[in-house]
């Protein structure tokens, strides 16, 4: 009974500390919300508005027909019509256009003679992902143009050709935003939790109030519980708000169950609180707490699969990544939102979190005791 009373007293103090300062209150929910919406819109791999220039030496009806197809595609935006070869280098260098489409002077004649013709494309490789995808789109446009030529009788029906019929599961329109936004909430709430938890103990140490805590009738275990609760509460609250935001604002489908979502998030937040407490037990100043959190957050987010696939990493890095808690919540969130997983289905993805949480919390508790005397 007394134990519970003591813990409640500590928890009340922690919450008061955060909620009394107006700026502190704002920082818990305001910036995370802003970030969620801004980054939700910024995070996209879908191409839009790709600026291109053309150098049409043929100026024939066929070349214009092809170029109209490119313009009509919707993701390309014509910025310039170049008049000479020299302008090509300059245009790409200056980033005035990311692609240059060059049609040779004999384009129409060759086609009318029944010979093969080529269209040259020059792409700016400084953003390779954009270049590859844009070239892919152009490839499909060329294929469709070829089919048009056959229909117009300007080319023999292409012989044994292969026709690619493709379909995408779970995300028919290949909206990359769904991929990112479903996981974004987990990332932002993680940052909030880690910073909050790691800074709270470090702040007490720096101000000397930690020593006062130690002479109070609290055991190190109770201090640990008291310090972790605000982080867990605010973290879970933020994460659930972001999940709602993803569905209601960004129209990301939610095909799984609420139970799976809450359990996965809870496990993850508790793990992150454990890591935050670990960092804070090793820090004596707030700067160390902040930097320590960062040294964890940066690799964890980068290797989590948020923006780039874990499958692309070298084998040794994938093995090391097995201890990265963020990786598991990202997979769990995506499976729940987009693939419709319920608790049993998502469990194989999240049980490692239980393991990591128990290790970090035990370590943090031990270090607390060790560094408290």
């Amino acid at each position: 009974m007394a134990v519970l009373q003591r813990i409640m007293a500590l928890v009340a103090k922690e919450f008061l500390l955060i909620l009394k300062d107006k700026r502190s209150r704002f920082v818990i929910i305001g910036p995370p919300l802003i970030q969620f919406f801004v980054f939700g819109y910024a995070a996209t791999y879908d191409l839009k508005d790709v600026r291109y220039a053309i150098h049409d030496q043929s100026r024939s009806s066929l070349s214009r027909q092809f170029l109209a197809k490119v313009q009509g595609n919707g993701i390309f935006r014509l910025t310039e019509e170049l008049l000479s070869q020299e302008q090509i280098a300059e245009t790409i260098d200056r980033e005035d256009a990311r692609l240059i489409i060059h049609v040779g002077a004999d384009f129409e004649e060759r086609l009318q003679r029944g010979e093969a013709a080529t269209i040259q494309v020059l792409a700016d490789g400084r953003n390779p992902n954009v270049a590859l995808i844009a070239l892919g789109y152009l490839g499909t446009i060329v294929q469709s143009f070829n089919e048009d030529l056959v229909r117009q009788g300007l080319a023999p029906p292409g012989g044994p050709g292969l026709q690619l019929i493709d379909r995408a599961w779970f995300n028919d329109n290949l909206q990359s935003r769904w991929f990112i936004v479903s996981a974004l909430g987990g990332i932002i709430s993680m940052v909030v939790v880690m910073i909050l938890t790691s800074l709270s103990v470090a702040r007490e140490r720096e101000f000397g109030t930690f020593d006062q805590l130690l002479v109070a009738p609290f055991t190190p275990g109770e201090i640990l519980i008291g310090k972790s609760l605000p982080g867990i509460v605010f973290g879970l609250m933020d994460a659930l708000i972001f999940a709602a935001g993803a569905v209601l604002w960004f129209h990301v489908p939610f095909r799984g169950t609420l139970a799976a979502l809450v359990v996965a998030l809870l496990l993850f937040i508790v793990t992150m609180v454990g890591v935050g407490l670990l960092v804070s037990s090793l820090s004596t100043t707030m700067q160390q707490g902040l930097l320590g959190s960062f040294i964890f957050i940066m690799p964890a987010v980068t290797l989590s699969g948020l923006a780039t696939p874990v499958e692309n990493m070298p084998h040794w890095l994938q093995q090391a990544d097995l201890v990265n808690p963020v990786r598991y919540i990202i997979v769990a969130l995506r499976t729940i939102f987009l693939q419709g997983a319920d608790l049993p289905a998502v469990w194989p993805h999240i049980w490692p979190l239980l393991l990591i949480a128990s290790v970090t919390l035990t370590l943090a508790a031990w270090l607390f005791r060790a560094r408290s005397v």
Binding site: P128, F145, Q175, M286
Partner: protein, 376 residues
Amino acid sequence: MTNGLFFMRMRGILRKEFLQILRDPSSIALAVVMPLVLLVIFGYGVNLDAEHVPVALLAEEQSSFSADLVSRFELSETFAVHRVHSMTEAEQLLESRRVDGIIRLQDNFTEKLQTAGSAPVQLIVNGVDANRARLIQSYVAAVLGQWSAMRRAAGDPAAHAPVSLVSRVWFNEEVESRNFMVPGLITLIMTLIGILLTALVIAREWERGTMEAMLVTPLRRIDILLGKIIPYYLLGMLGMAMSVAVAVTVFDVPYRGSITALFLLSSLFMLASLGFGLLLSAAIRVQFVAAQVSIVAGFLPAFFLSGLIFDLESTPRFIQVVSHIVPARYFITISHTLFMAGDVWSVLLPNGLVLALMAVFFLSMAYRKMSKRLEG
């Protein structure tokens, strides 16, 4: 006489700042250890290219045509083929994410080729990662295109495609996403050092009361500010130089610009970031809050809104507008050009100018916010 005093004051405060940095190893860890860790992770871990993509291949027919196509996929470096014998098996693999796509040649493949003139090849991708799905689609299309080209070369007159696309990629011919990511990472590292370290530095002095002690010294505001800028500038440039060296030697990222341009432009970016961090610290005065604001307003925008990973031009208009106030955005453009293209002044100059203006703005605002009065 005044000059001599100035140097005396600078010597004093610089010595204090350097001692403080040396005595707290976390600053050095951030400037030296963190960049190395990040470089390793980004260099090896972050890769948007699709290689050895696991796909399930279902060839319902055994014929020379289908065998030819199947071997093309198996021999290609882009794909890691798992042969399956039924659609159910393939779908299970896709569901459990053991493969990212299913390629299916139906049992009337040869028949359709010879009678209808075209045979369908079915591709099902896991759309959860849309970007990867698109890349897989274009790679499969490329393999099919190669198959058609081979048949044309073998003299099959019917496999004639009237128009074909010849493409060339400039500046990054190998189309390596690493050449794109690593220069961007260097921007991120400099932002981290510039904003994160300095965001706490002035607030800490206020909280500990040492700022009051400094107020009674003959130090003027400009001396205190310079005393904060110079050591962290040096630390940041050290981190930058080290990162560039590692990028070029260990990761074979090409560097085609000049060292002068790199030094000049990165200094401008460093000063702009430092200015922003110091402004936060001077205005907020509470470490706890300054830390959170620096992450929210400094670091996360540099990650998401600068063009580091997500292409800015494909984002909605208001995002593009907001990105104009993020210093990292300009340096990302500069570093991509410096590394992959060289000294293209038509790109470097306008971006560098904006960075210079931002540096002046943030530093002068920080100066104004630093008051020599207790109430601030």
